[in-house]
Every structure is written in structure tokens, then in C-alpha cells.
């Protein structure tokens, strides 16, 4: 089997850095009021600045396919690589500009790439690693020589004030507001080839493992439903007489519209008679189930322990630990568990740019790798261990790279 190497990287962050005190100047003040939760959530996630593809009137400055193209162009330009040689384009995003076709089609056109194989992966944070794994495997199978892998997010369109105002909620609930202070926009790109770069560093992809625990948990992060609990597959017994009352008790702040959606069996945004009704019911808001979010660390460590047992990685060999933790809050939790199981990766080996580049979902890991790749810190023989947890329904992607 052939090897696969990341020979170059690129990234793009739209607009100027936006500090914590300017977020609402860009995303807008919901109902003209500043959020009461904002400072609490920002303190916890530790992010100090981020970028948005929105202007101050919440008009889009870019399309997601444009953000993706910018990172890809940045990667090709740095390498001086001829785009005509690209034989596969893999593009990851949480949400493309259009529900269909796949985003890779749009990015290929945007970049004016020659006819080639394309792949679109869709998910949340781990989608970028899914695209990368597929590209790497194609190179290993010698089916492709030059694979461009791009991960891009334009979350801010989901976070602007009008989205929340359109959902007829008397109070903005924490579940729907949380991600407003977490997510932002950006893109990253990697070029994968079967040979290391002729000059400069390359990253040999030793392996990529992706583990999902979806059947063990309820939905934790989603967009497209007014009530994530409607998607539970865990409770073996149905208690119809309880469900409405319970919905009332648990989400007292939600509106009659949402309750009606339960009665009408509207689970997906596509079940509503009109998209306007779906939006009014809050089915188009991006949501995070905070009650179960902490499990993200546990499943991440679970997978890490499995990899250690399988002999694929040991804490001692890691020189650079690139972990897409979405929030500073989780850093401490991860450290605790690492210490506990005797597989601590010392903090000086951790590399992140979360605090200044923001949490850009599936693009985050690529944006971090891009900064590390060009930082001058990498030396031949070093090991990079990359971990990308996704809370959507609990997936974690792991990757081991060797600097060559």
C-alpha cells in the first residue's frame, strides 16, 4: 500500500478579528437587548476573538463555497501547485450554501478545477476528518495522486439576530443560544499526495480513526428540529401521556407553536407545512443539548484508550497535540482524565488557536494544522496527534501524523 502525505496547508478567515465586546455589533442584538448569557458562556469557552462572514447589518460577505475556495487557493498558492493536476476534491461542511447539490460541486466550480472526482462530507466537527480520511485512502490505493481536502464553515448565518427573532419564543432558551457565543466562520485546506514534498516539510498520515457513539446518546447538537428529544431512540418505553406535560415542564419557555408541532408529529423542519412555520417553531435554530454535552470528553477519552490498547499511539511519543476542543472549559476536563489514566500529554505540547481564530467547527482542526505547519515549530521525525471531537451525536476523529 502506498503512503499518503499532507504536503501543504492553507486557511482563510473572513473579515477582521471580532473581539468579545463586538460580537453583537456583527450578529445583532436580539430584540434590541444584549444577551445575559453571553459573558458567562464566553468566560467558559475562553475565545477572545473570531471572524464572521457577515457585515454589521448581518448581510453575508461570502458564501460558504467561497470561504472554502479561499482556503484552498491559499494552500495551492503557497505551494505554487498547478490546479490542473488535482484529481480529487473532498469538501466538508456542517452546512453548505444550498441543501443540494453537494458542496464539493460548488467549490469545484468556484475554483475552476478541471474534471475530477468529488466528495462532500456532511456532519459537524468531524466532517473534515471524514473527507481527509477518504482522500488519504484514495491516495494509498493509488487511485488518486493529488487530493485537495477542504473544510469550511459559515455558521454566522444561523446566529444572526433575525433567526432568533423569527422563532416565536418568549425567552431565548439556553439550548438555542449557547452556540451563538461559540461558533464562527473560517476554512482550512490540505493537499494530500503520494510522495512527500520535494522541498520543505510534509506530514505523513500514519492513520486516521473515526469512532461514533450515536446509538448510546441522544442528539446533542443539531439544526432542523424544534425539540432534540423527539429524536431519542433510547427510551424503550413510550409514555405518550407524559410527553406533552413533560415538554411543558422542561421547556416552559417554548411556545404553543412548538407544542403543536409535537401533536402534529413534526420532527424535522421538512415536516412542517411551510418553512415559515418551521422557523417560527424554532426548528431552524442551531441547538446544543447542554445536559449531555460533558459526555464529549468521556467518549473522546474512550477512543483514545482504545487506540493506546491497539498500540496505535502512546502519550509519550506525541510532540504536538492538536485537539479541537470547542471550549476552554473542556481543556481542564480532558487534562483530568488524561492524568487519571496515566496518559497525560504535557500542556506545553498542546497546540490550539481556538482563542484567537474561534471555533470554526470542522474547519478548526485544519486551521490549527495550517498555523502549526507554517509556524517553524515542526521538525523532522516529530509526531503530531490530532483529535477532533464532535458533539452532534458523539463522534471523535483521531489522526497520527509524522513530520518528514
Amino acid at each position: 500500500m502506498a503512503e499518503a502525505y499532507i504536503v501543504g496547508t492553507g486557511s482563510y478567515l473572513p473579515g477582521p478579528p471580532i473581539g468579545n465586546d463586538q460580537i453583537e455589533d456583527v450578529l445583532g442584538f436580539v430584540e434590541e437587548k444584549s444577551s445575559r448569557l453571553k459573558s458567562r458562556i464566553l468566560k467558559s469557552n475562553g475565545i477572545r476573538s473570531r471572524h464572521y462572514a457577515l457585515d454589521r447589518k448581518q448581510r453575508s460577505t461570502h458564501q460558504n463555497s467561497e470561504l472554502a475556495s479561499m482556503a484552498a487557493e491559499n494552500c495551492l498558492m503557497r505551494l505554487g501547485f498547478d490546479r490542473k493536476k488535482i484529481d480529487m476534491l473532498a469538501v466538508a461542511s456542517t452546512q453548505g450554501d444550498l441543501p443540494l447539490p453537494g458542496m464539493a460541486s460548488m467549490v469545484q466550480a468556484q475554483m475552476n478545477l478541471p474534471p475530477c472526482e468529488i466528495l462532500t462530507t456532511h456532519g459537524v466537527c468531524s466532517a473534515g476528518m471524514m473527507a481527509l480520511k477518504s482522500g488519504v485512502n484514495q491516495v494509498r490505493l493509488a487511485e488518486k495522486k493529488n487530493v485537495l481536502v477542504v473544510a469550511s464553515e459559515l455558521a454566522s448565518r444561523l446566529l444572526k439576530r433575525s433567526r432568533y427573532e423569527a422563532a416565536s419564543q418568549t425567552v431565548l432558551d439556553l439550548e438555542a443560544e449557547f452556540l451563538r457565543w461559540m461558533l464562527s466562520d473560517g476554512s482550512g485546506a490540505l493537499l494530500v499526495q503520494s510522495e512527500p514534498a520535494a522541498s520543505g516539510l510534509s506530514l505523513k498520515v500514519e492513520w486516521i480513526e473515526i469512532i461514533s457513539f450515536a446509538s448510546d446518546f441522544d442528539l446533542c447538537m443539531s439544526c432542523g428540529t424544534a425539540d432534540q428529544s423527539l429524536w431519542s431512540t433510547l427510551a424503550p418505553e413510550k409514555e405518550p401521556e407524559l410527553s406533552l406535560a413533560a415538554v411543558g415542564a422542561r421547556q416552559a419557555e417554548r411556545t404553543v407553536l412548538q407544542k403543536r408541532s409535537h401533536e402534529n408529529g413534526e420532527r424535522s423542519w421538512q415536516d412542517y407545512a411551510t418553512y415559515a412555520e418551521a422557523e417560527a417553531a424554532g426548528a431552524l435554530l442551531i441547538r446544543q443539548n447542554l445536559r449531555i454535552l460533558d459526555n464529549i470528553v468521556k467518549v473522546g477519552v474512550d477512543g483514545f484508550l482504545r487506540l493506546i490498547q491497539a498500540g496505535k499511539i502512546s502519550a509519550d511519543e506525541v510532540d504536538h497535540f492538536v485537539c479541537h476542543y470547542s471550549s476552554h472549559y473542556f481543556r481542564g476536563k480532558i487534562l483530568e482524565l488524561f492524568k487519571m489514566c496515566g496518559c497525560l500529554i504535557p500542556e506545553e505540547k498542546w497546540f490550539t488557536n481556538l482563542y484567537t481564530k474561534g471555533n470554526t467547527g470542522c474547519a478548526s482542526a485544519f486551521i490549527a494544522l495550517d498555523e502549526l505547519f507554517w509556524s517553524g515549530r515542526l521538525q523532522t521525525g516529530q509526531v503530531i496527534f490530532c483529535v477532533v471531537p464532535e458533539s452532534g451525536r458523539f463522534t471523535t476523529a483521531y489522526m497520527k501524523l509524522t513530520v518528514v
Binding site: E237, I292, K298, V299, D302, M340, C343
Partner: protein
């Protein structure tokens, strides 16, 4: 799990065992999340009847718990004297726990005679029988695996459950003494357990047995919660 005690540096064998035990634990924790009564607790649909059912079904195991631990203590020979004194200390700490549990039951409107007369459910039957069997064998080092699961439950889950029960039922901490006590004290017990894992008791021969007993106990503990009132 939260490392609240001073940092422990374990030897390599103990670390490997600990990592394997943690994988068993994480799997156990995910399985707990699928048990109907705990799902109701998680989703805020937990009722006073649920709580009474839970306490009623836990009491026999708590009483059995102090029995198998003391039995285990008596099964250790003098070469395991250190381990034996730790186990005795642990048994002493917990042998009257069931009284807190009974007081919680009464605090939410249960009748003392009902909980005192409640028989073991079939899961408890299996769990208690297995533990007593292992505890009766000479030098039952493998029961460290059982303690890892049961103490972990207290340290990791009990405090959270206690808070959720208080919220769901609108009761004070006085009605969740048993769970709250374990939430506060089991981290100390767990730290002791870690130091035991670091001892000579963990060998290439005992480590797989400790792991296996942890797996069996995790499975049987789940059975106990799956078979509520099935007596």
C-alpha cells in the same frame, strides 16, 4: 471522573490496568444512560414513585455490600495484610449506609416497613451471589474490580443523581442523604483504590481477574437496575 486527591503516579502495570478498567467504566456509564428509570431522571421526568422504587431496589444490595466486603476481608491471608486492613476500613465506613437510604425513603413518603421487607430483585440476586462467591475464595484480589465499579458509581454518578432528584421532586438534600453521602465520600475511597492498584496485589496473574470481575459486576449492576421490582 474527577481527580480530587493528590496526583497519583502509578506503576506501569497499574496504569495499564487502570486504562482497561476505565474503558469498562465508560462503557458501563453509557449503558447506565439507557436504563429507563435513569433516562427519566436525566430528562426531568422522574417521579417520587420512581425514587421510592429506586431506593427500594437498592437497599438489599447496600446491605449485601457490607456483607461481601467483610467476607472478602476475612478471606485475605496475612500476605495481603495491607489490603485486608484497607478493605476492613472500607467495610466499616459503609456498613450502616442502609440507614441513610431508609431515611430517604421515609422522607419522600415511603413506609419504613415496606422498604425493610422488600426482597432482592433478580439482578440484585445475581450481583450479590456473585460477589459473595468471589469474596469467599482465598485472597479475592479480583474484587478490586468490583470496588472500582461500585465506588465509581458513588463518586461519579451519585452527586449528580442526588441533585437531579432534588430538582425533579422539589425535595431538599435531606431526602437524598444516601446518594449525597456517596457523592461526597467516594472520591476518597476511589483514591484509596488507586493506591491499592499500585500495590503488589496487582500482578500479571491478578490484573486480568480484576478486570473480568469489574466487567461482571458492571453487567450485573445494570441488570439490577433493569429488573426493578422483578423479585
Amino acid at each position: 471522573m474527577v481527580v480530587t486527591e493528590k496526583e497519583l503516579t502509578l506503576n506501569a502495570r497499574a496504569q495499564e490496568l487502570l486504562r482497561k478498567l476505565l474503558l469498562v467504566w465508560l462503557d458501563f456509564e453509557r449503558s447506565l444512560g439507557k436504563i429507563p428509570i435513569l433516562r427519566r431522571l436525566e430528562q426531568g421526568r422522574f417521579t417520587a414513585d420512581d425514587y421510592k422504587t429506586l431506593l427500594l431496589n437498592l437497599r438489599p444490595q447496600v446491605i449485601e455490600g457490607s456483607r461481601w466486603i467483610t467476607r472478602a476481608a476475612s478471606s485475605f491471608t496475612s500476605e495481603f495484610a495491607e489490603l485486608r486492613s484497607k478493605v476492613i476500613g472500607h467495610a466499616y465506613d459503609e456498613h450502616r449506609d442502609y440507614q441513610m437510604l431508609e431515611s430517604d425513603f421515609v422522607a419522600v413518603g415511603g413506609e419504613l416497613k415496606n422498604i425493610r421487607s422488600a426482597p432482592r430483585n433478580i439482578g440484585t440476586e445475581a450481583l450479590a451471589s456473585f460477589l459473595m462467591q468471589q469474596a469467599s475464595l482465598p485472597n479475592p484480589v479480583d474484587l478490586l474490580g468490583a470496588m472500582f465499579i461500585i465506588e465509581g458509581l458513588g463518586q461519579k454518578m451519585a452527586q449528580g443523581w442526588a441533585q437531579k432528584i432534588q430538582q425533579a421532586l422539589g425535595v431538599s438534600a435531606d431526602a437524598t442523604k444516601f446518594l449525597s453521602y456517596h457523592g461526597l465520600n467516594d472520591s476518597e475511597h476511589l483514591a484509596k483504590l488507586h493506591s491499592i492498584l499500585d500495590s503488589d496485589a496487582v500482578t500479571n496473574e491478578t490484573a486480568p481477574r480484576i478486570l473480568k470481575t469489574a466487567k461482571v459486576v458492571a453487567r450485573l449492576y445494570l441488570l439490577q437496575l433493569e429488573e426493578l421490582d422483578n423479585v
